[in-house]
């Protein structure tokens, strides 16, 4: 009975979804034309940032990004408080079988390369695809590799929280510095360089590097908290 109701509901929902979206033509410039043209023009002329997605995320919609990293921080702290136990020191993690010597040596070899790739991705976020969110998650996967290979590898929660909160404070500080010239929050106050240089775009790469540190620290904290869960 329940199955019939669910299938009817899904059929009706799918029909209306399909009817709505097939009405919007695929592959033809239509939808957000004014906004899109404004962003594309001002990315090159006003900011001289090569990657338009970066300039939207960091500069035009920077306040939303601040809200988003706050949501991530809330998720990480909610995770810690839901999984709270009265056990403050972390012992060795329980594993079914320890990883072999090849895995350990290989992951020790790969770990600096992964961290370097993540740092490269978020430093060059305004020139090439990538940016703070991508680089932060790549760094978190590097820490995940080390945590899986060595069962006595530990990340200090204090250092993570210091990095994370310093990045957040600097983000807000750079946002507030935009008020100096009589502008708005996250207004660009540094000189914009030549399009395509590493030091270009004014305040955009600085903000994205800070976002990268913040996201990396938060996701590493999430993984570390969940990985230390024990089957009681």
């Amino acid at each position: 009975m329940k199955k019939v109701i669910v299938l009817l509901l899904l059929a009706a929902f799918g029909y209306y979804l399909a009817a709505t979206f097939f009405y919007i033509d695929f592959g033809i410039s239509h939808f957000t034309n004014g906004v899109r043209d404004y962003y594309l023009a001002h990315t090159v002329n006003g900011l001289s940032v090569a990657n338009t997605v970066t300039s939207i995320v960091v500069s035009f919609r920077g306040f939303d990004t601040l809200g988003e990293v706050t949501v991530l921080f809330l998720a990480a702290s909610a995770l810690g408080s839901i999984l709270y136990k009265r056990r403050h020191k972390y012992e060795e993690r329980v594993v079914l079988f320890p990883s072999s010597r090849i895995v350990q040596a290989g992951s020790k070899l790969l770990f600096p390369a992964i961290i370097l790739l993540g740092v490269y991705v978020f430093i060059h976020g305004h020139l090439s695809p990538g940016g703070g969110f991508q680089g932060g998650t790549i760094i978190a996967t590097g820490f995940l590799l080390m945590l899986l290979a060595y069962q006595d590898y530990h990340v200090s929660h204090n250092i993570l929280s210091i990095v994370e909160s310093m990045a957040g404070i600097l983000f807000v500080t750079f946002g507030l510095l935009g008020f100096i010239g009589g502008g708005t929050f996250l207004e660009n106050f540094l000189p914009v360089g030549e399009l395509g240089d590493l030091f270009s775009g004014g305040v955009v790469p600085i903000i994205y590097i800070l976002v990268g540190f913040k996201v990396g620290a938060e996701l590493t904290g999430v993984i570390y908290t969940v990985l230390n869960e024990k089957d009681i």
């Binding site: 399909a18 979206f21 906004v35 594309l40 990657n51 338009t52 988003e68 998720a75 399009l195």
Partner: protein, 123 residues
């Protein structure tokens, strides 16, 4: 609209809508709590595909200025939906992590994951 574009439209929109429906079916019909969370993440994937394919332009390029065409912006795909989906993916990971930690907590409290054995969670 020529023919190949129509096939592409049916392919992308259709697969996105089918992903959403399959995920919704799983979230409504399944008994196990982990299966419900898997269904929710499949709905997420379908929505991301739908939004990105709305912003696509035929023969468009990625919204990155590089090389010779520093100033040519007329033929780029829509960067607004891409920024939107970029934030949505990261937020979706946070939501999944919190939901799974709640699942672990419920299992520790009740000793089972079937929602008809846990009281007050049935519909």
């Amino acid at each position: 609209m020529d023919n190949s574009l129509q096939y592409l439209e049916i392919g992308f929109y259709g697969s996105a809508i089918i992903l959403i429906l399959v995920g919704l079916y799983g979230a409504l019909m399944k008994k196990s709590l982990i299966k419900i969370v898997i269904g929710l993440s499949i709905i997420d994937a379908g929505l991301h595909l739908l939004m990105i394919s709305i912003g696509y332009i035929k023969n468009g390029t990625a919204p990155i200025f590089s090389g010779e065409d520093f100033v040519v912006a007329g033929n780029m795909v829509d960067p607004v939906v891409q920024a939107l989906v970029l934030t949505a993916i990261v937020i979706g990971f946070g939501v999944t992590a919190v939901a799974l930690s709640l699942v672990i907590r419920l299992y520790r409290h009740h000793g089972t994951l079937k929602i008809d054995e846990i009281k007050n969670l049935k519909w």
